[in-house]
Symmetry: C2
Subunit: 353 residues, 2 copies
């Protein structure tokens, strides 16, 4: 299956209703289906805020910034933020609109700079920003998105701005830690989790803790939301790594094996490396360390990883993190929105795109 494309060859953005119903899943009970139009409107409102911020005054940057923000994406963060805000009793998303837009921009900025660092050609079925606009433009576009994010965060009290800032510092530290272990299969599980906690989990955690704070939740509920966000982020990333090796490139909108190609040790390659017998271990290590890998090298890495059962292990770790997320929000009063948050956590661990 390929993504739908417009006559100009650009993928058509799925409407927010479609994004939400994909997230709800086909087997969603009626009470969840009733939330769909509400959440679709929430996503539309966040998007509106985001577009307004980007369109202001800077024509030279608007194109690349808008392109970066519109290249599909599942809008998982704003959806989680809106659902959590409502689960905590809010009846409007207005108080968190700027925050949701800010975190969406931070996430996008980091993807743009990641695509520079990782030489990524494609992102969600379209050329990546560095590919489409060039490396210098990609660097400054990422900077611009960070700047706009912080301007949005300025709508909130200092504590929330600082939480937002710390999660960005985590994010960039995660990138440095990942660089430090590139092409190195001996870097180990602990290092890997340190990377993804910072690169992926920290901003989800900070975003949801901030939403709870804005909703006036108690400190223990704020902590619970931070824990939920962290666990969902980790589940999401583990599944992401799995899809990069065993997923469907058409559904993903990008070629497989980016982590093998760039030498990023994920839990799959780390576990496979531990489990291979000595001869194959040497072969795996040798292929993984190649700075330029042929298509046959990538397929062989996948085959070797597959033989070890690493994919089942990573899949079940992702599901275990999803269950941790679900347990974390038990203190939140039961509601259809809490059920949605539970489904989104579990969905992050089993999704195919």
């Amino acid at each position: 299956m390929t993504s739908p494309t417009s006559p100009a060859g650009e993928p058509v953005e799925p409407p927010f209703e479609v994004l939400v119903s994909r997230t709800l899943g086909s087997g969603a009970p009626l009470q969840l289906a009733e939330l769909a139009p509400i959440l679709a409107q929430d996503l539309a409102d966040v998007d509106q805020r985001l577009q307004t911020v980007l369109r202001a005054q800077y024509p030279q940057l608007t194109d690349a910034a808008t392109y970066a923000c519109s290249t599909g994406g599942k809008r998982v963060r704003p959806l989680l933020m809106a659902a959590l805000h409502r689960a905590l009793g809010a009846t409007t998303t207005r108080p968190i609109l700027s925050l949701a837009a800010a975190f969406q921009l931070i996430h996008t900025a980091s993807l743009v700079h990641d695509d520079v660092i990782d030489h990524a050609e494609m992102r969600r079925g379209r050329p990546s920003v560095p590919r489409a606009f060039g490396l210098p433009a990609a660097i400054v576009t990422g900077d611009y998105l960070f700047v706009r994010a912080f301007e949005l965060a300025a709508d909130y009290p200092r504590a929330i701005i600082l939480r937002c800032g710390e999660s960005c510092a985590d994010l960039v530290e995660g990138e440095v830690l990942q660089e430090a272990s590139r092409f190195d299969l001996t870097s180990g599980r602990e290092h890997f989790f340190r990377v993804i906690e910072r690169k992926t989990a920290a901003i989800v955690s900070a975003a949801l803790a901030s939403v709870a704070e804005i909703a006036g939740a108690t400190p223990s509920i704020v902590d619970a939301c931070a824990t939920y966000g962290r666990a969902v982020g980790i589940a999401f990333q583990l599944r992401d790594d799995l899809l990069d090796v065993f997923g469907d490139p058409d559904l993903l909108g990008k070629p497989l094996y980016a982590d093998f190609r760039e030498g990023n040790p994920t839990l799959i390659s780390l576990e496979a490396y531990q489990r291979l017998d000595p001869g194959k271990k040497i072969e795996f290590e040798r292929l993984f360390a190649l700075h330029r890998k042929a298509p046959g090298d990538l397929l062989r890495l996948r085959q070797l990883a597959d033989e070890t059962g690493a994919s089942e292990l990573v899949a079940s770790e992702a599901e275990a993190w999803a269950e941790r997320a679900v347990r974390a929000i038990e203190p939140i009063p039961a509601s259809p929105y809490r059920i949605l948050l539970e489904r989104m956590a579990r969905g992050a661990a089993v999704r195919t795109f």
Copy 2:
């Protein structure tokens, strides 16, 4: 003359007293010399704030970030901010310490990303951050410095955070505009000034307007300070461009001809291009457009530019901007600090390093 170096080959940072007295100039009247220890302490306090922010918790980023912030530099921005704050009647720099550190970080972040974009090998007598730490680390270090800058800005009211943000947006837009005219001598004066107003002048202007606001100045004084900052920034940049062609590389701490090499049209090359006779104009254009220039090409570009008298023209434009800056702050009550601000404006236009 070469910079002093430590046994490890790293340039020794000049003490703040030396930076201040260089800025004051050798012919400084006694009343200005008396300000030197006060301003040296102000710079030390800003530096202290900056180091504290960078040292927090992120060991993987601290090295590159500290390196980026410590590679010399004339500390023009914090010195201008401290002098202006005192010229407006403040007796302590404490209220603007975080702001001065924030703008120093923003400036440094932009230099780090510039050095990535421009493939700069050297910066102030040392390898540039991308050269010393690699391109991925340089990208995330720049991001990290921006993030820390915004955390510092969170100490101030929303209006100041937004002013800071807008100047960052200007800064990155300036980079995009510069990219758009790379290797293009027909881009013209107007485009050139649009670039430097955004790339250089905007953050100086925003920093000084913010200082005035924090000092409780009237809106018309705030505007005057913004105008002063903008004019000083432009004078500074025009002189910078001049030194890149006609300066002393040992005093500058970097090789000459970066703008010729990278094809950045400065006022020197734009004016030279306008003034050359048809035959030499074609030669100048051809050499300027080369993506790889031999040392002889660079020297020939300089020679052709020199023949046209472009350097005198740019020097006198820089001085004219300095005079505009001096006139802008006439409404500020006369004081030794105002005299210092006048000298710094004029100094920006005639400095040799």
